[in-house]
Symmetry: C2
Subunit: 205 residues, 2 copies
DNA sequence: GTCTATATCCGGATAGAC
DNA sequence: GTCTATCCGGATATAGAC
């Protein structure tokens, strides 16, 4: 932070102007700290210190702390849905489901802090903000639920209760973030292989 | 609270003495509020108001807020382990696993607030307290892991990675608390039946 | 055992200088 | 765009009266 070499033509004209740097830096610091200690336990002064500015400067980039939290969660959920939209999903329900598992694990392993926020800090959102984020979360669940419902209809899957199975699989996948470590015993590929098989079994007799 | 009728022989001799009532009431109030709003977001004043006393009075029953949280989590985990010890588990690995699922769902549905605390407030424990609670949580995971390992050894189960399957099943079961409602679409029995089958499938080819 | 009062500190957010 | 200074409220925890 606070690199003021000013040697490049692209640098701002006035020393001390870092709107393009400080904004993202604030979001990154808030994400890291909120994920580590929880929204309520993190102060604006802490976030500012992490970025290398004073607390007052934060309010040039966010109207308040609540909006900072909401933006982080909202952007994460939006990115999640957009990324899933872009995935090549295959033709059969089986392939579709396998693609979902692979995608989910990839996306979540790459964004541990955002994932943590998205499901731990829901209760710290104002009711209006909660409704928005909850709606996006529900949309994501529905992606999986649709796959299961279609597979059940075509006979590809043997499922007792589609809604419960959806929630069970989401929970199973979400649980990975609790124990996953980059330097852990298992590679990402290995984990994906194991979970694809676990999920396949839960929808097969 | 603060019922001072003093008409029964069993009432305390001194008006305003409610040690036997206030202590549990404080814990119950703290549990409810911590679960609803999060440890960091709940003040001692709020807890006191819920009980019907002033904030200062709380310190007759707990040395500080942190200890209050720790005691709630510690007691929950201890009760969980003790209750599982007391369960009739059956003789085969299959029966053992089914008993675990049934037990887990029963215990957790009956204590939604404590369950919520136990996995949401870990990061608000001091390092020493965290280590204790984490150790108890690990003991519980090991109960399930032992069942899976034994079943794998005897050939009753077909499991790729016992550790990952343990974490996957724990997460799947823990996820119930996210959507379960007492007045919901599904009875407890029905939910247990569905999950017993989901779990059975994950350890069978 | 509880209350009132208070010490001490830290929180979010704003105003105005530079 | 950032800083310093500050307002104002609320936090935990303690001391001493009743």
């Amino acid at each position: 932070m606070n690199v003021c070499s000013d040697t490049k033509a692209s640098m701002a004209r006035k020393t001390g102007s870092h709107a393009d740097i400080t904004g993202p830096a604030i979001r990154a610091a808030a994400l890291r700290l909120f994920a580590r200690s929880g929204y309520a336990a993190v102060s604006m002064r802490q976030i500012a210190a992490e970025v290398g500015v004073r607390a007052g400067a934060l309010y040039l980039y966010t109207p308040d702390k609540q909006t900072l939290l909401f933006d982080l969660m909202h952007d994460h959920m939006t990115a999640l849905l957009a990324a899933w939209e872009a995935v090549e999903k295959g033709t059969t329900p089986e392939a579709h489901l396998q693609a979902f598992v692979t995608f989910h694990i990839d996306f979540h392993i790459d964004r541990p802090d955002a994932v943590f926020l998205a499901y731990m800090e829901l209760r710290n959102l104002t009711p209006e903000n909660f409704a928005v984020v909850e709606g996006l979360r529900r949309q994501y669940e529905n992606q999986l639920q649709s796959i299961l419902a279609l597979g059940q209809k075509t006979g590809a899957f043997e499922i007792d209760d589609v809604r419960v199975t959806t929630m069970a699989l989401i929970a199973m996948l979400a649980g990975i973030h609790v124990w996953y470590r980059d330097e852990g015993r298992l590679s990402r590929d290995r984990i994906q292989t194991i979970y694809r098989e676990l999920v396949r079994r839960t929808v097969s007799l």
